[in-house]
């Protein structure tokens, strides 16, 4: 018992075990049998067991008010103090379980996927570092801890995205991810400073209390909230900082499943969920617009992508937009619900794509074909026959993300859309948010089925490659099966409800929304009732849009009754914009990076070749004049001989040093020595 409480002790172990795995593997992994993967695996499985135990206890206690906090002093200078610590409540426990589960799946999946990798031990080490950092975010009870682990998640994602750093694209992607996240972190830190300055504490509870007491309010509070939210914009890849996530697909696919689908990107949503009570109505509207726009914006890009992982990447951006939208409209428990369900089905989809890519790799490798892109869906088709488990599980997950009843995504998406409808109903001027939400739902259903049809159905596009495709080994399919099962509704509505279109279950009973502490915001109960009221309308609408999306996709890519090519031609401009991701990378490159780099070069030239060469070297002459003046001043006041001596020696020194030769070293050494000796003699003669 470290902290004297089972919850916090278990959380501490969950937090630090993966870190231990990291330290052991990074230092000794290479020398251990199997390069130490078993260390990481046993660490993560232990945390999974602990997380399950915590989860079981949570269900047994059935107390939505449960929370436990541990505070440790970190810095104490008298008045200035920082206390770190952690906070365990139901949200934390659910999140710990999600992280432990997805991380365990990734560890297991990677056994096969990363077999024979040149930096196998480091890969497992970094997974441990990542899991540690992510759990740190989950457990943080204060803004400072949150920021610390936030950055550590950033660096572990940098290391993992850049795992194959020999590829320039991977190295670029890792740097881009880190730097884009740091843009968000600037806002995050400014938000932290505003809060700390006003309230004098980083602790969430103190912050909530401070806001509720009005220690920070009005525009300043909006600004602080938006600053903190900016961190989430970076981490959760929201518009306009969404550019890093698709590139991050350069990392190994299991990593994409872990970080860029289920956990790291979820951290931004988690932050907004945790801090929901302090957002002002103005901040919330901004959040809603950022999320809603991102949801539909990313979805329209995903439609035209041909790289199977890119589709999933933009789909992730879009789904994160959904969650942020839910926070913005005040229905933040729905955001957290979607975070949970999305983690399962999106991880399943990513592992599925990994399984497909793995099979493509092997087939292409056997054909000695190194030019065909193993991730391009235009090279696939008909894989269902060859890899039925992958195909089936991915299809189930797709049904979940498309929002089809009986699947988890339906429940959470419905909750978000109902919340959005309620918000729009209350604030009709924000009508467009509803269009964002339902539009994105339709598009999502469309492009996800497009992915399924192109990959697993139809005629094989490359028959030779198709020949060599095999189902992945059971270490890879097992996580798929587990996660596909977790994408069904039943796991979220137990133990009190088995009706597939009603979302109440352990989740809604144990994760209850808190009231906002900002004056003038609707109470949690008002929002809850409103959502409940809108539930049926949302259900009908979302089913309609999902069927439209799925139907269109079916006609276009399964039956081919509608030609996707002619549609692409008809909407040529839009098609090109979407295919090229609205040229955001190019625009940022041209508007920000390149001009800024040029500007830096100019600054460096000004600094070095102009200012230093001309002004400073010219200043040398001024200095000479100045020292003469100094001599004059000193002369008036100071003993004549001393000043003269100093002046002469300074002048002589300067002259002598100008044309200094190595031969003169001894002289100066001698002077220095003499000086030192004199001082020594003086000192010791007095002492003795």
């Amino acid at each position: 018992m470290i902290t004297g409480n089972f919850y916090t002790d278990a959380s501490l172990v969950i937090l630090f075990l993966p870190l231990l795995g990291f330290v052991i593997n990074i230092l000794f992994g290479k020398k251990l049998p199997r390069q130490g993967d078993w260390i990481s695996i046993s660490a993560i499985l232990t945390t999974l067991v602990l997380a399950l135990i915590l989860f079981a206890i949570m269900l047994k206690n059935w107390d939505y008010k449960f929370s436990h906090e541990v505070i440790m002093p970190w810095i104490d200078m008298g008045a200035f103090k920082i206390e770190l610590g952690f906070w365990v409540d139901n949200i934390t426990i659910v999140m710990l379980l999600v992280v432990a589960l997805i991380s365990s799946m990734t560890h297991i999946f990677s056994l096969e996927y990363m077999k024979g990798d040149i930096r196998y031990n480091r890969y497992y080490a970094y997974l441990g570092l990542f899991t540690f950092s992510m759990n740190g975010i989950v457990l943080a009870n204060n803004l400072m801890s949150l920021y610390i682990f936030w950055e550590l998640v950033g660096v572990s994602s940098y290391l993992l995205i850049g795992h194959w750093f020999e590829k320039n694209s991977a190295a670029d992607a890792s740097k881009k991810a880190f730097l884009t996240n740091r843009v968000g972190d600037i806002g995050f830190f400014i938000g932290i400073m505003l809060m700390f300055t006003a309230i004098g504490s980083f602790n969430f509870q103190d912050v909530f209390a401070g806001v509720s007491d009005g220690e920070i309010k009005g525009n300043l509070l909006t600004l602080a909230g938006l600053g903190l939210f900016m961190g989430a914009v970076g981490k959760s890849s929201q518009f306009p900082l969404h550019i890093w996530l698709p590139d991050a697909m350069e990392g190994p696919t299991p990593v994409s499943a872990l970080m860029h689908a289920a956990t790291m990107v979820a951290a931004g949503v988690y932050l907004t969920v945790r801090l929901f009570p302090i957002f002002t109505p103005d901040a919330l509207v901004t959040i809603a617009y950022v999320g809603g726009f991102t949801a539909i914006f990313a979805a329209t890009i995903a439609i035209t992508q041909n790289d199977i992982k890119k589709v999933l990447a933009y789909s992730t951006v879009s789904q994160l937009g959904y969650m942020i939208l839910a926070v913005g409209v005040g229905n933040y428990t729905a955001a957290f619900f979607h975070l949970l369900t999305h983690a399962m089905f999106k991880a399943c989809l990513f592992y599925g794509s990994g399984s497909v890519i793995h099979a493509m790799h092997h087939s292409l490798h056997n054909l000695h074909d190194h030019d065909t892109d193993p991730q391009d869906m235009r090279n696939m088709g008909g894989f269902h026959k060859k890899m039925p488990i992958t195909s089936t599980t991915m299809t189930l997950a797709t049904l979940a993300i498309a929002g089809v009843p009986l699947f988890s995504g339906f429940l959470s998406k419905d909750a978000i859309l109902a919340g959005t409808l309620y918000f729009v109903d209350q604030n009709p001027q924000h009508m467009i948010l509803a269009f964002f939400g339902f539009g994105a739902a339709a598009i999502t259903a469309f492009y996800m089925f497009r992915l399924i049809f192109l990959t697993f159905h139809g005629e094989p596009k490359m028959p030779k490659v198709f020949e060599g495709i095999h189902e992945s080994p059971s270490l890879m399919t097992a996580p798929l099966v587990i996660l596909a099962a977790l994408s069904t509704y039943i796991f979220y509505t137990l133990p009190i409800n088995l009706i597939p279109w009603k979302d109440y279950g352990w989740f809604t009973k144990l994760i209850k929304a808190k009231d906002s502490v900002v004056a003038g915001t609707p109470s949690a109960k008002e929002i809850y009732d409103g959502v409940h009221y809108m539930h049926d309308l949302a259900l009908v609408l979302s089913l309609t849009v999902a069927s439209i999306g799925i139907g269109l996709s079916f006609l276009m890519y399964y039956r081919s009754t509608i030609s996707s090519k002619s549609w692409a031609k008809r909407f040529g401009t839009f098609y090109r914009l979407s295919l090229n991701k609205y040229y955001f990378d190019e625009i940022y490159n041209r508007v920000f990076y390149q001009p800024f780099l040029k500007f830096c070069n100019i600054v460096a030239i000004i600094d070095w070749d102009l200012y230093d060469k001309y002004f400073i070297n010219g200043f040398g002459h001024v200095t000479k004049l100045l020292s003469k003046v100094t001599g004059q001043v000193d002369y008036d006041g100071l003993d004549q001989t001393l000043v003269d001596g100093v002046g002469r020696s300074a002048g002589g020194l300067g002259k002598g040093l100008k044309n200094i030769q190595t031969g003169r070293l001894q002289n100066y050494m001698l002077f220095a020595l003499i000086g030192v000796i004199i001082i020594l003699i003086v000192q010791y003669s007095v002492i003795l």
């Binding site: 505003l194 230093d612 400073i616 200095t623 040093l657 070293l665 100066y668």
Partner: protein, 515 residues
Amino acid sequence: MSNILSWIIWLPVIGMLVISLIPRNNSKIIKQIAAITSGIQLLLATYLWQVFDSSIGEMQFMERVEWIPSFNITYILGVDGLSLPMVLLMALIGFIGIFVSWNIDKAVKGYFSLFLLLNTGVMGVFLALDFFLFYIFWEVMLLPMYFLIGMWGGPQREYAAIKFFLYTLAGSVLMLIAILALYFTCGNTFDMLVLMETAPVALNGMLWWGMSAIKVIWVLLFIGFAIKVPVFPFHTWLPLAHVEAPTAISVILAGVLLKLGVYGILRINYTMLPDGVFWFAGALALLGLINVIWGAMCALAQKDLKKLVAYSSVNHMGYTLLGMSAVIAASGMNGSNLISAQAGVGGAVFQMFNHGTISAMLFILVGVIYDRAHHRDIEGFGGLASQMPVYTAFVAIAFFAGLGLPGFSGFVSEAMIFIGAFPVFRTIVIISTLGILLNAAYFLWAFQRMFFGPANEKYNDLPEINSRELFTVIPLAVITLFLGVYPRPFLDLVSSTLNLLIESVVTIGGYAGNL
């Protein structure tokens, strides 16, 4: 050990005298003597740290010996929470520096003698409490530095050495004027502890040529110290000196010498001219901001790795200025915000120490690759990560420490500085948080160009970092990590003294309106 401070200061000179007795071709023995001397000094400094009472803010282990009574010049030494970390830093980096210099083969005797003399000079500045003595040590430090750059440096060493020398000398001259001005106006004494008491009163309301004497002396001292920091626009000697200096000298220069400037401002300007602090704090914060942004932008444009690291020093030292300016938050007119003053000043002092360990690490690592590849052109490498994985790991640690990643000490100090300065200089701090991004940009971009991408075949046979080099880097990395995770030991050491300093600035500095 009643004269422990004197021992710490003069031990290197004893080592130097012993070296002078060794024949010049016995280079191995010379190096060993230098190492032993610094090693003992490091032990002494560590012992001092152990016996130092950090709950007391005032000077400890004071030594006072009459020296030149006719001018009231006294040999006074003392250590407090501000100087002790700097003494520890110098002892550590001085010791490590000997091993970094192990490959020196030109004029070994001269090199190590000067190296030890430099050590004495720096220690003396940190421990002297008599202005005259302080100034002497300040100058003693300059001389060996001049020769070390000018003789053992790179191709442009002579230009770099003379520039460094004249630049610093210019600052010293201004400083000397200020010292004399204080001497004559505040009761003919060089005793710094006495001046701290008398100067604020004696200078109050005094006008010279229609200007407040406080302002004049402040500016004179500030320029003298600013050149050392270096504060924009007095910074251009630094990249040149760094690029030309041999590795160990760059390490000492960045690791310790730059701190003398900030130390001087805190020790002298802050205590003797507290009114000036209020007058100048805004400028200090602004200069800090310029250092941060300008340094980062110049670093981003560099192609030479060493110059990049040099500009990163300009960038990192900017944070200390920003942090120091937060002291005025504790005054009544700023709402007596002691939290913010402690965070800022504590952060600044912590940042000094952290920059010492981190930049030392960076320069050592630059030296490692330069010794092997004989160039430092960032674009000339590529894919080193697969060729020298251990070296890469240490560069990654140093770079991530440099870009302020949590877990490394630099993060703690930078966060403290931001938090501290924010309430008083909101706009300046908000702009300077751009540094969060820019620091990461220049380090990661350089890292990518050197270590990622396809391996450069030319460097397939570069030997991995060796055990001597690891011995120099690992202690620094461990300290950086340890203090990043657990900063208490450092902050506990300094907080009593800094709190006293803050208190004296805001209680004595009440005449600000009179300026």
